[in-house]
């Protein structure tokens, strides 16, 4: 019975959620959220600037620099040869055959 109810609601809901009215409403809600987010962002930027604190953009800039340093380290590591296979790691032989061909 639960399965029937679930199927019926999903079918009905699916049709309703596909309708132009719903899509229009959903897009308007998304746009409103985006506007709110943009306004909050602007206000926060001003507040942080007034308080002499780093903004999100400053942190992004720092994160980008750290990512650049990480990438450089990875390149150095690769050149030093430590990025390759570990010789101490157990290496099974790569000769397995499927059951039909093994016999």
């Amino acid at each position: 019975m639960l399965g029937h109810w679930e199927k019926a609601v999903n079918n009905f809901g699916g049709d309703a959620l596909k309708s132009e009215e719903f899509v229009r409403g959903m897009s308007a809600a998304t746009a409103a959220t985006a506007n709110m987010q943009a306004n909050t962002h602007q206000v926060m930027e001003r507040v942080l600037a007034a308080a002499n604190l780093p903004s999100r953009a400053d942190f992004d800039d720092l994160a980008r620099r750290v990512a650049g340093i990480e990438a450089t380290l990875a390149r150095i590591e690769a050149k030093l040869g430590s990025g390759g296979p570990d010789p101490a790691k157990p290496r099974p032989s790569r000769s397995r055959k499927p059951p039909s061909k093994a016999s």
């Binding site: 999903n10 596909k18 899509v23 998304t30 985006a34 990438a71 397995r96």
Partner: protein, 357 residues
């Protein structure tokens, strides 16, 4: 003489009472205990760069097939759907079947990674993963296995790197005709959906927003799932399984803004992969150029990638050795859970074993 079964109302009531008590006691336990530990198969992280993680799982047999497997996860979800718990892990199943298994999975892109594009994934992350697998195994070729949008990324990689050692290509529930993904197609209607405003405002597209979209595909599913959970609270296995899937479901990853903008415009609006007009990094994508043995595994009751959205894929692949297997189940139960253990995993292992020597 016909016998009719009689039900003793007292023992039936007693049974129901016991079940109710067990449900209440275990219900309390449900809210006070942590979720099961997932993704615990021993592994080594080979690459950790940006949102990209390349894992190598420790082989479980003394002799493995020559060709390694590279699992490619969808960018919206965590990779542990392939490695739930012992006995319910595709990774573990493949390891025990004698494969050398790697997985390319994703972390949430950080705020400054909003500029990652489709090119970052197809022309940088995937080739880097393949190169590392080759280096690690010493083998010139790999089998690539992509799930959902991981399948789309694998197809794009295969089309652009036809000569770079792809032994086999497998995709699970992978869309190709995006116009047939009815709800997503309606919700991203360019007349109403302003993807530029969304990406320009948010940077990365929030995981919560994507989760809500997936959830709305089946509006009654959440309520029905919770009712079933209550009904089965006395059953430890059911509760454990519910919690694993619930955890995976709700842990939807954000998407890099530019990547989302491109995929919306190229795939949802222009349907360019299906129409043959898709480009990545200025290079045309021709699925007919994929000549590696190809397998597509589709689910009969897939609510995210309906059958019509993946049906044309097989015909578009150029390989002479290609096959599609339609299995019972949905988008998630195709790859994990009891259904997958019985049907999909053996089918995948058998197909790959024949082509991995």
């Amino acid at each position: 003489m016909q016998q009719t079964a009689t039900i003793d109302p007292i023992s039936a009531a007693q049974g129901e009472f016991e079940r109710m008590m067990a449900r209440n006691i275990k219900g309390l336990n449900y809210f006070t205990s942590p979720a099961p530990v997932v993704g615990a198969t021993p592994r080594e992280v080979l690459i950790e760069r940006g949102p990209m993680r390349l894992n190598h799982y420790r082989p479980m047999t003394d002799e493995v097939y020559r060709v390694p497997i590279l699992l490619v996860m969808a960018t919206t979800n965590r990779g542990f759907i392939f490695d739930m718990v012992p006995g319910q892990s595709l990774v573990e199943f493949l390891l025990r079947a004698g494969f050398d298994v790697f997985m390319l999975e994703w972390e949430a892109p950080r705020s400054h990674e909003r500029s990652l594009t489709l090119e970052s994934y197809v022309l940088d992350f995937l080739p880097a993963a393949v190169a590392r697998v080759r280096e690690e195994t010493g083998e010139p070729d790999v089998s690539m296995v992509g799930y959902c949008f991981g399948g789309v990324l694998s197809l794009l990689y295969a089309a652009l790197h036809p000569a770079q050692g792809l032994a086999n290509l497998v995709t699970f529930t992978t869309p190709i005709d995006f116009s047939r993904m009815d709800l997503f197609s309606a919700w991203s209607d360019p007349r109403f959906f302003d993807v530029d405003r969304l990406v320009d405002t948010f940077g990365n597209v929030p995981g919560d927003m994507l989760y809500a979209s997936f959830d709305m595909l089946r509006p009654a599913a959440r309520t029905a799932a919770n009712m079933r959970l209550y009904d089965n609270l006395w059953d430890d296995e059911y509760v454990k399984s519910f919690r694993m899937f619930e955890r995976w479901n709700t842990d939807t990853l954000p998407l890099a803004g530019e990547y989302f903008r491109q995929t919306t415009k190229k795939l949802m609006w222009d349907n360019s992969l299906y129409k043959g007009t898709m480009t990545v990094g200025g290079r045309a994508i021709d699925l007919g150029g994929i000549t590696a043995p190809f397998l597509h595994l589709a689910a009969e009751h897939d609510h995210i990638v309906p059958r019509e959205a993946s049906a044309p894929l097989l015909g578009m692949i150029g390989s002479p050795d290609k096959q599609e297997i339609m299995l019972k189940g949905g988008h998630v139960s195709l790859v994990a859970g009891g259904n997958a253990i019985k049907r999909m995993w053996p089918a995948l292992a058998n197909w790959l074993a024949e082509r991995s020597i």
